[in-house]
């Protein structure tokens, strides 16, 4: 499982970097999907298969499809690619890179040396938690989604 974790994490990091540096929006989206799938693999290797598969269904399979759907409508051509290039010159990279490097050093320093105690949590355990102690939060989240749905419908109607 450790190899699976590290390979998944590596793919996630590289794909996410490529999302940032791509100037073609569609390519960036494809790398974002890849990154989300890699995160799903990471979840899987940490003993959460249910969360992993939901990550793949909801984020990679539904939300990113809608992103791509919107990009299709926008008809972004060479102009947006040039604009992207203009927005991302080399000197913009300096400060974020230094900050990210500092974070990386902290992260490496704080990695626990002892192996993680991985315990698999299946669909049943997650559901028991969601409909047991956290039922109020689930209901509140569904209210929020319903409000979003109704307002989207209202805006589309006008």
């Amino acid at each position: 499982m450790t190899e699976l974790f590290y390979s998944g994490a590596l793919v996630a990091v590289i794909a996410t970097l490529l999302v940032i540096v791509q100037t073609n929006v569609v390519h960036a989206l494809i790398y974002l999907v890849l990154s989300l799938l890699a995160v799903a693999v990471v979840f899987f290797s940490l003993g959460a298969p249910f969360v992993a598969i939901l990550e793949a269904i909801v984020y990679a399979g539904a939300i990113m499809v809608l992103f791509l759907f919107v990009v299709m409508m926008l008809n972004l051509g060479q102009r947006s690619r040039d604009q992207e290039k203009e927005w991302l010159p080399a000197r913009t990279w300096f400060v974020p890179s230094v900050l990210a490097l500092l974070l990386l050093i902290q992260l490496v320093a704080s990695i626990p040396t002892a192996g993680l105690n991985i315990e698999e949590i299946g669909a049943r355990a997650v559901s028991e938690l969601l409909f047991g102690p956290y039922v109020l939060a689930v209901e509140l989240a569904s209210f929020l989604l319903l409000a979003g749905l109704v307002s989207a419908y209202h805006i589309a109607k006008r």
């Binding site: 073609n24 569609v26 390519h27 494809i30 999907v33 298969p49 249910f50 598969i53 939901l54 793949a56 269904i57 990679a60 399979g61 539904a62 499809v65 809608l66 791509l68 759907f69 990009v71 299709m72 409508m73 299946g122 669909a123």
Partner: protein
């Protein structure tokens, strides 16, 4: 090596059988369509035209594999591979018979749904990177259709999952020893069937590639084996949906007298023939009819089915 779930022999034979079977369906479909439409179909190459598939394959492999200069190469090459990969991956959780299967996952049903939702990228990228207006129209339609029907597909399965108490497809088959799930879950079965046709965008729901309206839809610019991958991918999707219906609603490999694999084959073949009959019998609906039919009719129906199933299970306990 022996017949046990996940052995190398198992993986290799399932892969080969599934791909060869999907390729053979090109011939089966044309013969069956010919039969139902009162004409002959391909009957010249080999006995009963059986070698038609070989001829088609030789033709498709030797054709010029052309990438239009205006297309986005990255997406254009990536798109046809996605559909093949995700559908073949879905077969990994299908239990064909006792001991025959690639993996028994406790998230099997969800895995199939995840792969189905990733399959949408294939048609979307194919149309988008072709840089052709018909292709773009096709992939716009495909995106809306696949995202919508995924929802009903997922909800219609939940009744079966609730009755079994597991996402494991093998356990779902074993739970049907006393009776097939098609009886208590008939509405779920019908919705899954309709959503399955829409997901694999076969006629009558082949709106993303409707020839009479938008050329060939998302694969207008494709030729050679890249087109072939979309083509075989569609047949693979047909085999997958038929296998899933068999597993989820018709007791999988279970049946008297004949060996389990034979039963699986018979049941799945019946559904494949049914899907081909659908193509021969039903005209294509309009795009907006398809969407409103889904959201205004299938969604409430599938939710109601789930609700009633839940009530029945709770009161039985």
């Amino acid at each position: 090596m022996q017949w046990e779930v996940g052995s190398a022999l198992n993986i290799a034979s399932i892969l080969v059988v599934v791909i060869v079977f999907a390729a053979m369906l090109i011939w089966v479909e044309r013969r069956l369509l010919g039969f139902w439409q009162d004409r002959l179909g391909p009957n010249r190459v080999g006995p009963f035209g059986l070698l038609q598939v070989v001829a088609d394959m030789i033709k498709i492999f030797t054709k010029e594999d052309w990438i239009p200069p205006f297309a986005d190469r990255f997406g254009f090459v990536l798109a046809p591979t996605i559909i093949m990969i995700v559908i073949l991956l879905s077969f990994s959780v299908v239990p064909f018979a006792p001991g025959v299967g690639i993996v028994d996952s406790n998230i099997g049903v969800l895995f199939v749904l995840a792969m189905a939702s990733l399959g949408a990228y294939s048609v979307m990228l194919g149309g988008l990177s072709s840089d052709n207006k018909y292709a773009l129209l096709g992939s716009l339609r495909a995106a809306a259709q696949m995202v919508s029907y995924e929802v009903f597909m997922g909800i219609s399965l939940l009744g079966v999952v609730a009755l079994t108490g597991s996402f494991d497809l093998r356990e779902i088959v074993l739970a049907q020893e006393g009776g097939w799930f098609v009886v208590p879950q008939f509405i779920g079965f019908v919705i899954f069937l309709i959503a399955g046709v829409a997901e694999s965008h076969r006629l009558p729901f082949d709106i993303p590639e409707a020839e009479q309206e938008i050329c060939a839809g998302y694969h207008t610019e494709y030729s050679g084996m890249k087109f072939g991958m979309f083509f075989v991918g569609e047949y693979l999707g047909l085999v997958l949906i038929s296998s899933l219906i068999t597993v989820l609603f018709f007791g999988g490999w279970q049946g008297p007298l004949l060996p389990p694999l034979a039963w699986f084959f018979i049941k799945a073949s019946c559904f494949i023939a049914f899907f081909i009959l659908l193509r021969a019998a039903i005209p294509r609906p309009r795009y907006d009819q398809l969407m409103s039919y889904g959201w205004l009719f299938l969604l409430p129906l599938s939710l109601l089915n789930l609700l009633i199933t839940g009530v029945v299970i709770l009161s039985a306990n």
